[in-house]
């Protein structure tokens, strides 16, 4: 009973921050907001639309993403792309995630033996 109550909160806490990483990774291939929302959803990283769009803008302001308007399509869209600074941040975050995963592995294996 209690487990069901607390688990969603802990999972949410665990996933916080993955949206940034996933966006930076996915946008090596340039894309616009809605397409990214679907890409992330298909990849199993569900992000709310009202979180993702402001996030993209924030990452642009932080110069991690570059953006330009594409007016050739039927409706104008803002196309985002991961910039060099974004690549560096992404690499650092991925390294951190790996290190974390390795640490957790050591702990869980240590417990098992």
């Amino acid at each position: 009973m209690t487990k069901d109550d607390v688990l969603p909160g802990h999972l949410q806490e665990l996933r916080r921050g993955t949206a940034v990483m996933a966006s930076l990774a996915a946008l090596r291939e340039p894309g616009y907001g809605y397409a990214l929302l679907q890409t992330l959803g298909d990849a199993g990283i569900a992000v709310d639309a009202n979180t993702l769009y402001p996030l993209l803008r924030r990452l642009e302001e932080q110069k991690l993403l570059t953006a330009e308007w594409d007016t050739t399509a039927s409706r104008p869209r803002k196309i985002y792309r991961t910039g060099p600074e974004g690549e560096r941040v992404l690499a650092a975050m991925l390294a951190d995630l790996d290190a974390l995963r390795a640490s957790v592995n050591r702990l869980t294996e240590g417990n098992a033996s």
Partner: protein, 323 residues
């Protein structure tokens, strides 16, 4: 208001989200948000949903425009966040402890110069203290709410190990005791003041008659209220000391005497109740005597009880080892 006809829900949603943004931001975000909403609607329509319904669903999914705008602007959705909350609380409480009481006393003293109606003096003091308390809370909160929203490093000194409080010796007088004591004493003061204006007993003229003799305001009631104020302060002192030490017991006895002696004197000489009040309720002399006698006995019982309680607790405090 015919213009609503030409505005789509999307237009209204985008407007609601962006209307407080700076101009350059607004245009860019409006265009992008509109395109994105169109994309989302198109996605739903492709999946077979009715266009009008798709628009409603998409906008519902995006949620309150104010919340979205806050996300875009990086604005907090709280008045005072964890960064400043503890400091806000400390300063507000500190301000509430000192400023209203100080100003209230000053105003009461100033009032004393212009009028000799003690009820008006006390009423003015308490009223001003309350107004000042509201102002203290309002302005500190406003200052911190602004601080929360401007992007400056306020260089606020953090917590340090030196601020750790001493572990209190085993508390005999807890916070609840103090609050109850102060509250109850305040209540008695309020009753003493209010009975003058509102007794719910009508005199011959149809106005409320005071319960206590108005002549007492010239000396006795201010004295009794003064004793009560001292006893309120004493409650706080007791709490700070935390235990029934001998000085605390002595203070308790002194305050009990300071209250009981004048009060019993007044009751015993039938100076307490106002003659109009007695008349309005048709109290016979015999009954009046019994009321006065009862008042004397109850006062003695309460004060003796208070003193015995203090002495017993003092013996417990001095016997308990390591306390």
């Amino acid at each position: 208001m015919t213009t609503t006809q030409t505005n789509t829900l999307t237009d209204r949603y985008v407007h609601a989200t962006t209307r407080w943004m700076s101009e350059e931001k607004r245009d860019d975000i409006s265009r992008e948000l509109t395109a994105t909403i169109d994309d989302m609607i198109a996605g739903r329509v492709e999946a077979g949903e009715d266009p009008a319904e798709a628009e409603r669903d998409v906008l519902t999914e995006l949620g309150d425009p104010s919340a979205l705008a806050a996300q875009y602007g990086n604005q907090p959705l709280h008045l005072i966040g964890p960064r400043y909350f503890l400091l806000w609380r400390r300063l507000t409480l500190l301000g509430l402890i000192w400023i209203p009481a100080t100003v209230g006393v000053i105003v009461a003293l100033a009032q004393l110069a212009s009028t000799d109606d003690p009820a008006s003096v006390i009423g003015h003091g308490i009223g001003t203290a309350f107004e000042v308390a509201v102002q203290v809370v309002f302005w500190t909160t406003l200052a911190f709410a602004i601080l929360e929203r401007v992007d400056v490093d306020a260089k606020i000194p953090g917590w340090s190990i030196d601020r750790l409080p001493e572990v209190p010796r085993r508390q005999q007088i807890g916070l609840a005791d103090m609050i109850a004591g102060v509250f109850f004493t305040g209540l008695v003061i309020a009753v003493l003041v209010l009975q003058h204006f509102r007794s719910w007993v009508e005199g011959p003229s149809g106005d409320d008659v005071p319960v206590l003799d108005p002549d007492l305001w010239s000396f006795w009631l201010p004295l009794l209220i003064g004793v009560l104020v001292v006893s309120m302060v004493f409650e706080v002192v007791k709490f700070r000391i935390g235990r029934f030490t001998w000085p605390v017991v002595a203070g308790t006895i002194l305050i009990s005497l300071a209250w009981a002696v004048p009060f019993i004197y007044l009751a015993a000489n039938d100076m307490l109740l106002s003659p109009e009040f007695v008349q309005a309720l048709d109290i016979t002399p015999t009954v009046l005597d019994r009321i006065n006698l009862g008042t004397v006995l109850v006062t003695i019982a309460v004060e003796v009880g208070t003193v015995i309680d203090a002495v017993v607790k003092n013996r417990k405090a001095t016997r308990a080892p390591g306390a």
